[in-house]
């Protein structure tokens, strides 16, 4: 019984993905008629896709944005989360509460002021404009603060007795000890950046600046969308996030086994 339920759940969650891959091998009209068996149009679809968009440029843009954004977010958020947890004071607790309150402000409300700010900084249609607002992610700061609660305080004391300065403690003790946290945060941030749609759509205006996610969406909004091409593009766009996930998942588990035991 349990297995039946689990199998259904597994099928339901995997089906769209399978359908995506199968769809990538079919022509548009077959997909629309509900064909669920692999076809022979994969190569055609890829060729058509490369004719419509500059895949290399798109991947380069997306990767550049996601990598830089992830690195910066992790640096800023882990420093902040560690700081909030270790150097507690009444004032810092208030600041933190304020940050949490800001989580409830929807992005739609921030969009216009943010756009105006970027315009004044002459950053419209640059990748900097996409990366900057994501760097101080309140959610990731919160995540690191929660995780820092499990960081043993005596380790910090031991490191101080061993003569490390605060930044050395962060770099040589906190970061390696918390590497599973960093792995999980990398997955979250990378995926969020890779799939980010609304804000890049607003600030990136020329084709050579756009990301793969934007390109896939624009394929869909064509007068008559070629679903075969859309499926190929979507599959390709999904691959890097999957890759990141699988690479880090191993480290994630290793981190759990090797460190805090």
């Amino acid at each position: 019984m349990v297995y039946t339920l689990l199998s259904i759940a597994a099928f339901v969650s995997v089906f769209p993905f399978l359908w995506l891959i199968v769809g990538a091998t079919n022509i548009s009209s077959d997909i629309l008629s509900g064909k669920t068996t692999p076809g022979h149009a994969l190569f055609d679809n890829i060729v058509k896709l490369t004719q419509q968009v500059d895949l290399v440029q798109l991947f380069y843009n997306s990767t550049k944005i996601a990598v830089i954004s992830t690195i910066l977010t992790l640096i800023v958020a882990s420093l902040a989360g560690y700081g909030f947890e270790i150097f507690k004071s009444k004032f810092s607790e208030r600041v933190f509460a304020g940050l949490l309150a800001m989580l409830s402000v929807p992005f739609a409300a921030l969009m216009i002021p943010l756009f105006v700010t970027m315009a004044q900084l002459h950053l419209i249609n640059t990748h900097t404009a996409v990366i900057l607002p994501t760097v101080a992610s309140i959610f990731v700061i919160f995540y690191f603060r929660q995780a820092s609660k499990s960081f043993p305080m005596e380790l910090r004391d031991a490191a101080r007795v061993d003569g490390l300065r605060e930044w050395q403690i962060f770099l040589f003790v906190y970061m390696p000890v918390m590497r599973s946290t960093y792995a999980a945060a990398t997955i979250i941030t990378f995926m969020a950046s890779w799939n980010n749609y609304l804000w890049p759509l607003i600030v990136l205006q020329t084709n050579e600046m756009k990301t793969i996610t934007l390109a896939v969406a624009s394929l869909l909004s064509a007068y008559v969308p070629d679903y075969g091409v859309v499926m190929v593009a979507t599959t390709l766009a999904t691959l890097p996030t999957l890759l990141i996930f699988f690479i880090l998942q191993r480290q994630f588990v290793q981190g759990l086994l090797g460190s805090l035991k």
């Binding site: 004391d157 031991a158 101080r160 007795v161 061993d162 003569g163 390696p176 000890v177 090797g258």
Partner: protein, 360 residues
């Protein structure tokens, strides 16, 4: 060699005063143990010496130099923590060499010193393991090794054995005593285990509520406690306290009535007879001091007997509620409900005034 001096040291957290005016001198090579109940400020005081907590007021001198504002790593101390605090991502070897690495000691020199410490503690086979792959006792040894490598003048230990099982604790205790001899270093050791305190210490510092209650050698603190708190804290099983009232003061001493025991009268020889007639006092009787010949006699009924093999602890009362603990070698035949006479020599008794201060 380095001693250490605390003068009128205080620590406050906001309005909470955790250490209240502590003064203490530790001689070079001395093994000093801080004992006291949970929350009395032992760890806080140790961390102040280590430089991990700011000193609110007063002076700390290590080796004759004022160290209040000096960084932990520059105080010539090393600390072993209760949870060992080994770096989980580093091997034993790296853990032990960590401080030297950041002090800029050349690599081959680090290897030499780490290997020397490893030899002292017989860590040879474990050097390339991570802390997660070690047993509790092994981790403890690595933590001590990490401290030794830094060649400190003063070792600080915060309940280093409390996470070990009983057998290992005894074993490590002996090893620590040996280590102290061979290193000839000053040691300050925090514990709330009085057996550890009694066996390891040259000098015991009994703390209570952020104050030092008494300082002395283990036997001194046991034989001559300054107050009821120390008498009650040191010694196992716990000392018996019996309430009494001063009935007469004479040249030969104080005569005390024990209302709980048929108004028995006992005279305690004392020169200090500042306690007036009518004042209440407390008589302290160590369980080990009872015998079959002493002048002072308690007619009791056995309620419970604990047999430890060599020795038995008899818990006996006279129906008034209070139980007297008697440690005896001849308790094997005793059963609960039996009549039991406990004798003790009045000269062995400790006498405390109404404020718990020692009278005799």
């Amino acid at each position: 060699m380095t001693g250490l001096k605390l003068s009128n040291v205080r620590k406050t957290y906001g309005v909470l005063e955790v250490i209240k005016d502590v003064s203490l001198e530790v001689k070079p090579k001395e093994f000093v143990v801080f004992v006291g109940p949970s929350g009395c400020g032992k760890s806080t005081l140790l961390r102040m010496i280590a430089g991990l907590e700011k000193i609110t007021a007063g002076d700390l001198e290590i080796g004759g130099k004022r160290m209040n504002e000096v960084e932990p790593s520059k105080r010539g101390i090393a600390m072993v923590f209760q949870s060992y605090a080994l770096y989980p991502h580093l091997t034993v070897r790296e853990n032990m060499g960590f401080a030297l690495r950041f002090a800029g000691v050349p690599k081959n020199e680090i290897i030499k010193q780490v290997d020397a410490a490893a030899q002292t503690l017989e860590l040879g086979a474990l050097m390339d393991r991570r802390p997660g792959e070690l047993s509790g006792g092994q981790r403890q040894r690595v933590a001590i090794g990490r401290a030794i490598v830094r060649k400190p003048e003063v070792f600080l230990f915060d309940e280093p054995l409390s996470n070990l099982d009983a057998e290992l604790r005894v074993h490590m205790r002996i090893e620590l005593a040996r280590l102290h001899k061979s290193l000839a270093a000053t040691v300050i050791y925090v514990t709330h285990d009085q057996v550890e305190a009694m066996t390891l210490a040259d000098k015991i510092v009994v703390m209570r509520n952020g104050l030092i209650s008494q300082v002395g050698s283990p036997l001194d603190v046991y034989d001559n406690p300054d107050n009821m708190f120390v008498a009650g804290f040191i010694g196992s099983p716990k000392i018996n306290f019996i309430k009494g009232v001063v009935d007469g003061v004479s040249k030969s001493g104080l005569t005390v009535v024990l209302p709980g025991y048929q108004d028995a009268k006992v005279t305690f020889a004392t020169k200090n007879s500042s306690v007036p007639v009518g004042d209440s006092v407390t008589v302290g009787l160590r369980p080990q001091h009872f015998n079959t010949t002493g002048k002072m006699k308690f007619k009791l009924n056995v309620e419970l007997v604990e047999h430890l093999g060599g020795e038995s602890f008899v818990y006996a009362g006279n129906g008034s509620g209070d139980l007297i603990t008697v440690a005896t070698q001849e308790g094997r035949g005793l059963k609960s409900g039996q009549k039991f006479d406990a004798h003790i020599d009045p000269a062995k008794a400790l006498l405390f005034d109404a404020n718990g201060q020692r009278v005799r």
